[in-house]
Protein backbone atom coordinates (compact mmCIF):
# COMPACT_ATOMS: atom_id res chain seq x y z
CA UNK A 1 0.00 0.00 0.00
CA UNK A 2 1.40 3.35 -0.95
CA UNK A 3 1.35 6.12 1.59
CA UNK A 4 -0.60 9.05 0.24
CA UNK A 5 0.18 11.43 3.02
CA UNK A 6 2.25 11.34 6.16
CA UNK A 7 2.10 13.71 9.05
CA UNK A 8 5.29 13.44 11.06
CA UNK A 9 5.68 14.71 14.61
CA UNK A 10 3.60 17.85 14.23
CA UNK A 11 3.59 20.27 17.16
CA UNK A 12 1.87 23.62 17.54
CA UNK A 13 2.49 25.86 20.53
CA UNK A 14 0.52 28.94 21.41
CA UNK A 15 2.21 30.91 24.17
CA UNK A 16 3.22 28.13 26.52
CA UNK A 17 0.22 25.95 25.73
CA UNK A 18 0.74 22.98 23.42
CA UNK A 19 -2.19 22.90 21.00
CA UNK A 20 -0.73 19.89 19.21
CA UNK A 21 1.94 17.74 20.80
CA UNK A 22 3.99 15.52 18.52
CA UNK A 23 1.16 14.10 16.41
CA UNK A 24 1.84 11.70 13.55
CA UNK A 25 -0.39 9.81 11.16
CA UNK A 26 -0.25 8.07 7.80
CA UNK A 27 -2.92 8.00 5.13
CA UNK A 28 -3.16 5.18 2.61
CA UNK A 29 -5.51 4.68 -0.30
CA UNK A 30 -8.98 3.85 0.99
CA UNK A 31 -8.34 5.12 4.52
CA UNK A 32 -11.13 6.87 6.32
CA UNK A 33 -9.83 8.20 9.60
CA UNK A 34 -12.10 9.87 12.06
CA UNK A 35 -10.99 12.35 14.69
CA UNK A 36 -13.04 12.35 17.86
CA UNK A 37 -12.48 14.28 21.03
CA UNK A 38 -13.67 17.14 23.22
CA UNK A 39 -13.50 20.71 21.96
CA UNK A 40 -10.05 22.17 22.33
CA UNK A 41 -8.47 18.77 21.79
CA UNK A 42 -6.71 20.00 18.65
CA UNK A 43 -8.79 18.30 15.94
CA UNK A 44 -9.27 21.46 13.88
CA UNK A 45 -5.68 22.51 14.39
CA UNK A 46 -4.44 19.13 13.22
CA UNK A 47 -6.59 19.23 10.08
CA UNK A 48 -5.49 22.76 9.27
CA UNK A 49 -1.85 21.86 9.84
CA UNK A 50 -2.11 19.07 7.29
CA UNK A 51 -2.66 21.51 4.43
CA UNK A 52 -0.72 24.25 6.16
CA UNK A 53 -3.55 26.68 6.78
CA UNK A 54 -1.86 26.75 10.16
CA UNK A 55 1.91 26.48 10.08
CA UNK A 56 3.09 23.96 12.65
CA UNK A 57 6.05 24.90 14.82
CA UNK A 58 7.61 21.50 14.34
CA UNK A 59 7.09 18.49 12.14
CA UNK A 60 6.82 17.55 8.50
CA UNK A 61 4.14 16.80 5.93
CA UNK A 62 4.91 14.31 3.18
CA UNK A 63 2.67 14.07 0.14
CA UNK A 64 3.07 10.80 -1.78
CA UNK A 65 6.44 10.21 -0.14
CA UNK A 66 7.78 13.67 -0.95
CA UNK A 67 8.48 16.12 1.84
CA UNK A 68 6.71 19.44 1.39
CA UNK A 69 9.06 22.39 1.57
CA UNK A 70 6.95 24.84 3.51
CA UNK A 71 9.14 27.77 2.53
CA UNK A 72 8.07 27.38 -1.09
CA UNK A 73 4.71 28.88 -1.97
CA UNK A 74 4.53 26.74 -5.08
CA UNK A 75 4.89 23.54 -3.06
CA UNK A 76 2.31 24.71 -0.54
CA UNK A 77 -0.17 25.44 -3.34
CA UNK A 78 0.60 22.03 -4.83
CA UNK A 79 -0.09 20.39 -1.46
CA UNK A 80 -3.38 22.26 -1.06
CA UNK A 81 -4.54 21.43 -4.57
CA UNK A 82 -4.20 17.77 -3.69
CA UNK A 83 -5.67 17.94 -0.22
CA UNK A 84 -9.25 19.23 -0.27
CA UNK A 85 -10.71 20.88 2.79
CA UNK A 86 -14.29 21.15 4.05
CA UNK A 87 -14.91 23.63 6.84
CA UNK A 88 -17.42 23.59 9.64
CA UNK A 89 -18.88 26.94 8.55
CA UNK A 90 -18.73 26.22 4.79
CA UNK A 91 -16.74 29.33 3.82
CA UNK A 92 -18.38 29.69 0.45
CA UNK A 93 -17.40 32.89 -1.35
CA UNK A 94 -20.40 35.08 -0.62
CA UNK A 95 -20.16 37.21 -3.77
CA UNK A 96 -20.21 34.28 -6.18
CA UNK A 97 -22.96 31.91 -7.31
CA UNK A 98 -22.73 28.25 -6.40
CA UNK A 99 -21.39 27.55 -9.88
CA UNK A 100 -18.78 30.32 -9.76
CA UNK A 101 -17.69 29.24 -6.29
CA UNK A 102 -16.63 25.98 -7.89
CA UNK A 103 -15.26 27.50 -11.09
CA UNK A 104 -12.99 30.09 -9.48
CA UNK A 105 -10.16 27.81 -8.42
CA UNK A 106 -10.60 25.60 -11.49
CA UNK A 107 -9.86 28.62 -13.69
CA UNK A 108 -7.25 30.32 -11.50
CA UNK A 109 -5.43 27.31 -10.10
CA UNK A 110 -6.13 24.38 -12.43
CA UNK A 111 -6.01 26.78 -15.41
CA UNK A 112 -9.09 25.29 -17.07
CA UNK A 113 -10.93 27.37 -19.65
CA UNK A 114 -14.17 28.91 -18.47
CA UNK A 115 -16.23 26.38 -20.43
CA UNK A 116 -14.34 23.36 -19.14
CA UNK A 117 -14.54 24.71 -15.59
CA UNK A 118 -18.31 25.20 -15.84
CA UNK A 119 -18.75 21.74 -17.28
CA UNK A 120 -16.85 20.17 -14.42
CA UNK A 121 -18.58 22.39 -11.87
CA UNK A 122 -22.01 21.31 -13.12
CA UNK A 123 -20.96 17.68 -12.91
CA UNK A 124 -19.91 18.13 -9.29
CA UNK A 125 -23.08 20.04 -8.42
CA UNK A 126 -25.02 17.19 -9.95
CA UNK A 127 -23.11 14.69 -7.79
CA UNK A 128 -24.18 16.53 -4.63
CA UNK A 129 -27.73 16.86 -5.92
CA UNK A 130 -27.73 20.61 -6.51
CA UNK A 131 -27.71 20.99 -10.28
CA UNK A 132 -30.83 23.13 -10.02
CA UNK A 133 -29.12 25.57 -7.62
CA UNK A 134 -26.13 26.51 -9.78
CA UNK A 135 -27.16 30.13 -10.22
CA UNK A 136 -27.98 30.89 -6.60
CA UNK A 137 -25.77 32.82 -4.22
CA UNK A 138 -24.68 31.39 -0.84
CA UNK A 139 -27.10 33.68 1.00
CA UNK A 140 -29.93 32.08 -0.97
CA UNK A 141 -29.00 28.52 0.03
CA UNK A 142 -29.77 26.56 3.18
CA UNK A 143 -26.94 25.43 5.44
CA UNK A 144 -27.02 21.91 4.09
CA UNK A 145 -26.98 23.15 0.51
CA UNK A 146 -24.06 25.47 1.28
CA UNK A 147 -22.06 22.59 2.70
CA UNK A 148 -22.86 20.45 -0.31
CA UNK A 149 -21.66 23.23 -2.63
CA UNK A 150 -18.50 23.44 -0.51
CA UNK A 151 -17.99 19.70 -0.96
CA UNK A 152 -18.56 20.02 -4.71
CA UNK A 153 -16.04 22.87 -4.78
CA UNK A 154 -13.40 20.74 -3.07
CA UNK A 155 -14.13 17.68 -5.24
CA UNK A 156 -13.92 19.64 -8.48
CA UNK A 157 -10.22 20.17 -7.77
CA UNK A 158 -9.89 16.36 -7.87
CA UNK A 159 -8.00 16.09 -4.58
CA UNK A 160 -6.28 12.89 -3.54
CA UNK A 161 -7.39 13.32 0.05
CA UNK A 162 -10.26 15.17 1.65
CA UNK A 163 -10.09 16.80 5.09
CA UNK A 164 -13.43 17.45 6.76
CA UNK A 165 -13.60 19.61 9.86
CA UNK A 166 -16.91 18.83 11.58
CA UNK A 167 -18.85 19.32 8.35
CA UNK A 168 -22.25 18.92 9.97
CA UNK A 169 -21.88 20.63 13.34
CA UNK A 170 -23.13 24.01 12.10
CA UNK A 171 -26.26 22.46 10.62
CA UNK A 172 -29.61 21.95 12.24
CA UNK A 173 -30.55 18.30 12.71
CA UNK A 174 -32.84 18.10 9.71
CA UNK A 175 -30.06 19.15 7.34
CA UNK A 176 -27.38 16.82 8.66
CA UNK A 177 -28.73 13.88 6.67
CA UNK A 178 -28.36 15.39 3.22
CA UNK A 179 -24.72 16.30 3.87
CA UNK A 180 -23.88 12.96 5.49
CA UNK A 181 -25.39 11.15 2.51
CA UNK A 182 -22.98 12.92 0.18
CA UNK A 183 -20.03 12.15 2.45
CA UNK A 184 -21.11 8.52 2.75
CA UNK A 185 -21.24 8.16 -1.02
CA UNK A 186 -17.73 9.58 -1.23
CA UNK A 187 -16.48 7.21 1.44
CA UNK A 188 -18.02 4.25 -0.35
CA UNK A 189 -16.41 5.50 -3.55
CA UNK A 190 -13.02 5.11 -1.85
CA UNK A 191 -12.07 8.76 -1.35
CA UNK A 192 -9.43 8.88 1.39
CA UNK A 193 -10.65 11.15 4.16
CA UNK A 194 -9.69 12.49 7.53
CA UNK A 195 -12.78 13.76 9.24
CA UNK A 196 -13.51 15.31 12.57
CA UNK A 197 -17.07 14.29 13.39
CA UNK A 198 -19.36 13.11 16.10
CA UNK A 199 -21.76 11.31 13.75
CA UNK A 200 -21.42 7.94 15.45
CA UNK A 201 -23.47 5.91 12.93
CA UNK A 202 -21.09 7.03 10.25
CA UNK A 203 -18.04 6.28 12.39
CA UNK A 204 -19.25 2.80 13.22
CA UNK A 205 -20.19 1.83 9.71
CA UNK A 206 -17.52 3.43 7.55
CA UNK A 207 -14.47 4.59 9.50
CA UNK A 208 -11.37 2.46 9.02
CA UNK A 209 -9.74 3.99 12.06
CA UNK A 210 -10.77 6.17 14.98
CA UNK A 211 -8.27 8.62 16.47
CA UNK A 212 -9.32 9.92 19.85
CA UNK A 213 -7.67 13.23 20.64
CA UNK A 214 -7.32 15.03 23.92
CA UNK A 215 -4.98 17.83 25.04
CA UNK A 216 -3.29 17.99 21.66
CA UNK A 217 -2.35 14.32 21.36
CA UNK A 218 -3.87 11.16 19.99
CA UNK A 219 -4.56 9.08 23.08
CA UNK A 220 -6.40 6.17 21.48
CA UNK A 221 -6.15 4.85 17.96
CA UNK A 222 -7.79 1.72 16.58
CA UNK A 223 -10.68 0.46 14.48
CA UNK A 224 -14.15 1.55 15.62
CA UNK A 225 -14.95 -2.10 16.32
CA UNK A 226 -12.27 -2.26 18.98
CA UNK A 227 -12.65 1.19 20.50
CA UNK A 228 -16.44 1.19 20.54
CA UNK A 229 -17.01 -2.45 21.43
CA UNK A 230 -19.63 -3.06 24.12
CA UNK A 231 -18.00 -2.80 27.52
CA UNK A 232 -14.68 -1.61 26.11
CA UNK A 233 -12.80 0.36 28.74
CA UNK A 234 -11.78 3.07 26.34
CA UNK A 235 -11.86 6.83 26.64
CA UNK A 236 -13.49 6.85 23.20
CA UNK A 237 -16.48 4.76 24.30
CA UNK A 238 -16.83 6.82 27.46
CA UNK A 239 -16.88 10.07 25.46
CA UNK A 240 -19.25 8.74 22.82
CA UNK A 241 -21.74 7.43 25.34
CA UNK A 242 -21.84 10.91 26.86
CA UNK A 243 -22.55 12.29 23.39
CA UNK A 244 -25.40 9.88 23.00
CA UNK A 245 -26.77 10.62 26.46
CA UNK A 246 -26.95 14.25 25.43
CA UNK A 247 -28.95 13.29 22.40
CA UNK A 248 -31.14 11.15 24.62
CA UNK A 249 -30.72 7.89 22.80
CA UNK A 250 -29.03 4.57 23.37
CA UNK A 251 -25.58 3.93 22.03
Amino acid sequence: MTTLLSVKNISVTLGNRKILDNVSLDMHAGDLKVLIGPSGAGKSTLLQCINHLITPDEGEIHLEGKKINTQSNAELCHLRQNVGMIFQDFNLFDHLTALDNICLALVKVRKLSKDEAQKRARKELDRVGLSNRAGLYPAQLSGGQKQRVAIARALAMQPKILLLDEPTSALDPELVGEVMNVIQDLAKGGMPMIMATHQMDFVRSLATEVLFMEHGTIIEQDTPKVLLADGAKTRTLDFCSKLNNLKGCEL
Binding site: D89, D94, L104
Partner: protein
Protein backbone atom coordinates in the same frame (compact mmCIF):
# COMPACT_ATOMS: atom_id res chain seq x y z
CA UNK B 1 -34.54 92.23 -9.26
CA UNK B 2 -31.01 93.59 -9.58
CA UNK B 3 -29.81 90.65 -7.51
CA UNK B 4 -31.48 88.07 -9.71
CA UNK B 5 -30.03 89.73 -12.76
CA UNK B 6 -26.53 89.63 -11.27
CA UNK B 7 -26.88 85.93 -10.60
CA UNK B 8 -28.35 85.30 -14.05
CA UNK B 9 -25.61 87.19 -15.83
CA UNK B 10 -22.81 85.51 -13.88
CA UNK B 11 -24.32 82.05 -13.76
CA UNK B 12 -22.50 80.66 -16.83
CA UNK B 13 -19.21 81.77 -15.32
CA UNK B 14 -19.99 80.08 -12.02
CA UNK B 15 -21.32 76.98 -13.75
CA UNK B 16 -18.01 76.67 -15.50
CA UNK B 17 -16.62 76.48 -11.98
CA UNK B 18 -18.98 73.58 -11.37
CA UNK B 19 -17.26 71.75 -14.18
CA UNK B 20 -13.88 72.54 -12.61
CA UNK B 21 -15.06 71.35 -9.19
CA UNK B 22 -16.45 68.09 -10.58
CA UNK B 23 -13.24 67.49 -12.50
CA UNK B 24 -11.18 68.18 -9.40
CA UNK B 25 -13.27 65.92 -7.16
CA UNK B 26 -13.53 63.05 -9.64
CA UNK B 27 -9.78 63.22 -10.32
CA UNK B 28 -8.91 63.34 -6.62
CA UNK B 29 -11.29 60.51 -5.77
CA UNK B 30 -9.87 58.39 -8.58
CA UNK B 31 -6.29 59.03 -7.46
CA UNK B 32 -7.31 58.39 -3.87
CA UNK B 33 -8.94 55.11 -4.90
CA UNK B 34 -5.97 53.92 -6.96
CA UNK B 35 -3.62 54.59 -4.04
CA UNK B 36 -6.05 53.79 -1.24
CA UNK B 37 -6.75 50.18 -2.29
CA UNK B 38 -3.09 49.10 -2.40
CA UNK B 39 -2.42 51.03 0.81
CA UNK B 40 -5.23 49.15 2.55
CA UNK B 41 -3.99 45.80 1.25
CA UNK B 42 -0.45 46.64 2.33
CA UNK B 43 -1.63 47.63 5.77
CA UNK B 44 -3.60 44.43 6.27
CA UNK B 45 -1.34 41.86 4.63
CA UNK B 46 2.06 43.56 4.49
CA UNK B 47 5.14 42.85 6.58
CA UNK B 48 5.51 44.82 9.83
CA UNK B 49 7.79 47.35 8.13
CA UNK B 50 5.34 47.95 5.30
CA UNK B 51 2.46 48.26 7.75
CA UNK B 52 4.42 50.80 9.74
CA UNK B 53 5.25 52.79 6.61
CA UNK B 54 1.61 52.90 5.52
CA UNK B 55 0.66 53.91 9.05
CA UNK B 56 3.03 56.87 8.86
CA UNK B 57 1.68 57.92 5.44
CA UNK B 58 -1.89 57.78 6.69
CA UNK B 59 -0.98 59.58 9.89
CA UNK B 60 0.69 62.41 7.97
CA UNK B 61 -2.12 63.02 5.49
CA UNK B 62 -4.85 62.70 8.08
CA UNK B 63 -2.96 64.74 10.64
CA UNK B 64 -2.45 67.91 8.63
CA UNK B 65 -5.26 70.30 7.58
CA UNK B 66 -6.09 70.17 3.87
CA UNK B 67 -5.44 73.89 3.51
CA UNK B 68 -1.99 73.52 5.02
CA UNK B 69 -1.32 70.53 2.72
CA UNK B 70 -2.28 72.65 -0.28
CA UNK B 71 0.09 75.45 0.73
CA UNK B 72 2.80 73.00 1.71
CA UNK B 73 2.77 71.27 -1.66
CA UNK B 74 1.79 74.08 -4.03
CA UNK B 75 3.91 76.91 -2.64
CA UNK B 76 6.51 74.73 -0.95
CA UNK B 77 7.36 71.23 -2.06
CA UNK B 78 6.42 71.49 -5.75
CA UNK B 79 8.60 74.59 -6.05
CA UNK B 80 11.51 72.98 -4.25
CA UNK B 81 11.52 69.94 -6.53
CA UNK B 82 10.90 72.15 -9.56
CA UNK B 83 7.53 70.66 -10.44
CA UNK B 84 5.64 73.32 -12.33
CA UNK B 85 1.97 72.48 -12.05
CA UNK B 86 -1.06 74.66 -12.62
CA UNK B 87 -3.27 75.30 -9.60
CA UNK B 88 -5.94 72.81 -10.68
CA UNK B 89 -3.58 69.86 -11.26
CA UNK B 90 -1.69 70.60 -8.06
CA UNK B 91 -4.94 70.79 -6.10
CA UNK B 92 -6.15 67.51 -7.57
CA UNK B 93 -2.88 65.87 -6.66
CA UNK B 94 -2.93 67.10 -3.06
CA UNK B 95 -6.60 66.29 -2.54
CA UNK B 96 -6.01 62.85 -4.09
CA UNK B 97 -3.08 62.08 -1.80
CA UNK B 98 -5.03 63.19 1.24
CA UNK B 99 -8.08 61.23 0.10
CA UNK B 100 -5.99 58.09 -0.40
CA UNK B 101 -5.18 58.15 3.30
CA UNK B 102 -8.84 58.40 4.27
CA UNK B 103 -9.97 55.90 1.64
CA UNK B 104 -7.32 53.37 2.68
CA UNK B 105 -8.93 53.22 6.11
CA UNK B 106 -12.40 52.70 4.62
CA UNK B 107 -11.09 49.76 2.59
CA UNK B 108 -9.04 48.39 5.48
CA UNK B 109 -12.16 48.35 7.64
CA UNK B 110 -14.08 46.43 4.99
CA UNK B 111 -11.28 43.95 4.38
CA UNK B 112 -10.94 43.24 8.07
CA UNK B 113 -14.68 42.84 8.50
CA UNK B 114 -14.68 39.83 6.15
CA UNK B 115 -14.64 36.47 7.92
CA UNK B 116 -11.16 34.92 8.05
CA UNK B 117 -12.67 31.80 6.53
CA UNK B 118 -12.95 33.52 3.13
CA UNK B 119 -9.18 33.78 2.90
CA UNK B 120 -8.69 30.29 4.33
CA UNK B 121 -11.08 28.76 1.82
CA UNK B 122 -9.13 30.33 -1.04
CA UNK B 123 -5.88 29.06 0.45
CA UNK B 124 -7.30 25.59 0.87
CA UNK B 125 -8.08 25.51 -2.86
CA UNK B 126 -4.44 26.20 -3.66
CA UNK B 127 -4.90 29.84 -4.66
CA UNK B 128 -2.04 32.28 -4.14
CA UNK B 129 -2.40 35.26 -1.80
CA UNK B 130 -2.56 37.57 -4.81
CA UNK B 131 -5.35 35.54 -6.43
CA UNK B 132 -7.28 35.44 -3.18
CA UNK B 133 -7.04 39.19 -2.62
CA UNK B 134 -7.99 39.99 -6.20
CA UNK B 135 -10.80 37.47 -6.69
CA UNK B 136 -12.24 36.92 -3.22
CA UNK B 137 -11.30 39.68 -0.80
CA UNK B 138 -11.52 42.84 -2.92
CA UNK B 139 -14.81 42.10 -4.69
CA UNK B 140 -16.47 41.71 -1.30
CA UNK B 141 -14.59 44.46 0.53
CA UNK B 142 -15.22 47.06 -2.18
CA UNK B 143 -18.95 46.36 -2.08
CA UNK B 144 -18.94 46.86 1.68
CA UNK B 145 -16.97 50.09 1.24
CA UNK B 146 -19.54 51.94 -0.85
CA UNK B 147 -21.51 53.52 2.04
CA UNK B 148 -18.34 54.73 3.74
CA UNK B 149 -16.95 55.82 0.43
CA UNK B 150 -19.98 58.03 -0.26
CA UNK B 151 -19.02 59.86 2.93
CA UNK B 152 -15.53 60.41 1.59
CA UNK B 153 -17.02 61.74 -1.65
CA UNK B 154 -19.20 64.30 0.07
CA UNK B 155 -16.39 65.43 2.39
CA UNK B 156 -13.89 65.71 -0.45
CA UNK B 157 -16.37 67.70 -2.54
CA UNK B 158 -16.57 70.32 0.17
CA UNK B 159 -12.82 70.22 0.84
CA UNK B 160 -12.32 71.06 -2.81
CA UNK B 161 -13.55 74.58 -2.03
CA UNK B 162 -10.25 75.09 -0.20
CA UNK B 163 -8.40 74.89 -3.50
CA UNK B 164 -9.70 78.42 -4.05
CA UNK B 165 -6.83 79.45 -1.78
CA UNK B 166 -4.16 78.34 -4.24
CA UNK B 167 -6.03 79.82 -7.19
CA UNK B 168 -7.98 76.92 -8.67
CA UNK B 169 -10.98 78.58 -10.26
CA UNK B 170 -13.71 76.28 -9.02
CA UNK B 171 -17.20 77.13 -7.75
CA UNK B 172 -16.13 78.84 -4.54
CA UNK B 173 -13.43 80.93 -6.21
CA UNK B 174 -15.76 82.14 -8.92
CA UNK B 175 -18.67 82.88 -6.60
CA UNK B 176 -16.39 84.84 -4.31
CA UNK B 177 -14.87 86.70 -7.23
CA UNK B 178 -18.27 87.76 -8.60
CA UNK B 179 -19.51 88.60 -5.10
CA UNK B 180 -16.63 90.89 -4.31
CA UNK B 181 -17.01 92.63 -7.67
CA UNK B 182 -20.79 93.16 -7.42
CA UNK B 183 -21.10 93.35 -3.61
CA UNK B 184 -23.94 90.81 -3.83
CA UNK B 185 -22.29 88.53 -1.29
CA UNK B 186 -25.24 86.71 0.20
CA UNK B 187 -27.03 85.71 -3.02
CA UNK B 188 -23.84 84.51 -4.68
CA UNK B 189 -22.72 82.44 -1.72
CA UNK B 190 -26.20 80.94 -1.59
CA UNK B 191 -25.90 80.13 -5.28
CA UNK B 192 -22.54 78.44 -4.69
CA UNK B 193 -23.96 76.53 -1.75
CA UNK B 194 -26.86 75.39 -3.88
CA UNK B 195 -24.47 74.04 -6.51
CA UNK B 196 -22.51 72.03 -3.92
CA UNK B 197 -25.82 70.76 -2.66
CA UNK B 198 -26.82 69.55 -6.11
CA UNK B 199 -23.49 67.87 -6.80
CA UNK B 200 -23.69 66.07 -3.46
CA UNK B 201 -27.20 64.88 -4.26
CA UNK B 202 -26.19 63.66 -7.72
CA UNK B 203 -23.10 61.89 -6.40
CA UNK B 204 -24.94 60.16 -3.59
CA UNK B 205 -27.63 59.02 -5.99
CA UNK B 206 -25.07 57.59 -8.37
CA UNK B 207 -23.29 55.74 -5.55
CA UNK B 208 -26.58 54.40 -4.26
CA UNK B 209 -27.28 53.07 -7.72
CA UNK B 210 -23.84 51.45 -7.89
CA UNK B 211 -24.48 49.89 -4.48
CA UNK B 212 -27.76 48.41 -5.69
CA UNK B 213 -26.29 47.19 -8.95
CA UNK B 214 -23.53 45.28 -7.22
CA UNK B 215 -25.57 44.08 -4.24
CA UNK B 216 -25.14 40.34 -3.65
CA UNK B 217 -28.54 38.64 -3.97
CA UNK B 218 -29.88 37.49 -0.63
CA UNK B 219 -26.90 38.99 1.20
CA UNK B 220 -28.39 42.24 2.46
CA UNK B 221 -31.96 42.89 3.44
CA UNK B 222 -32.28 46.57 2.59
CA UNK B 223 -30.87 48.37 -0.49
Amino acid sequence: METLKTIYVNLPYILEGTYVTVLLVVGALALGFCLGVPLAIAQVYGSPIIRRAVGLYVWFFRGVPILLLLFLFYFGLFNVIGLNLDALTASGLVLGLASSAYQSQIFRGSIQSLPLGQFKAGCALGMTDRQIIKNIILPQALRLSIPGWSNEFSILLKDSALCFAVGASEIMARAHFVASRTYEYLPLYITAGFLYFLITLAGIRILRRVERKFAIPGYTLSV
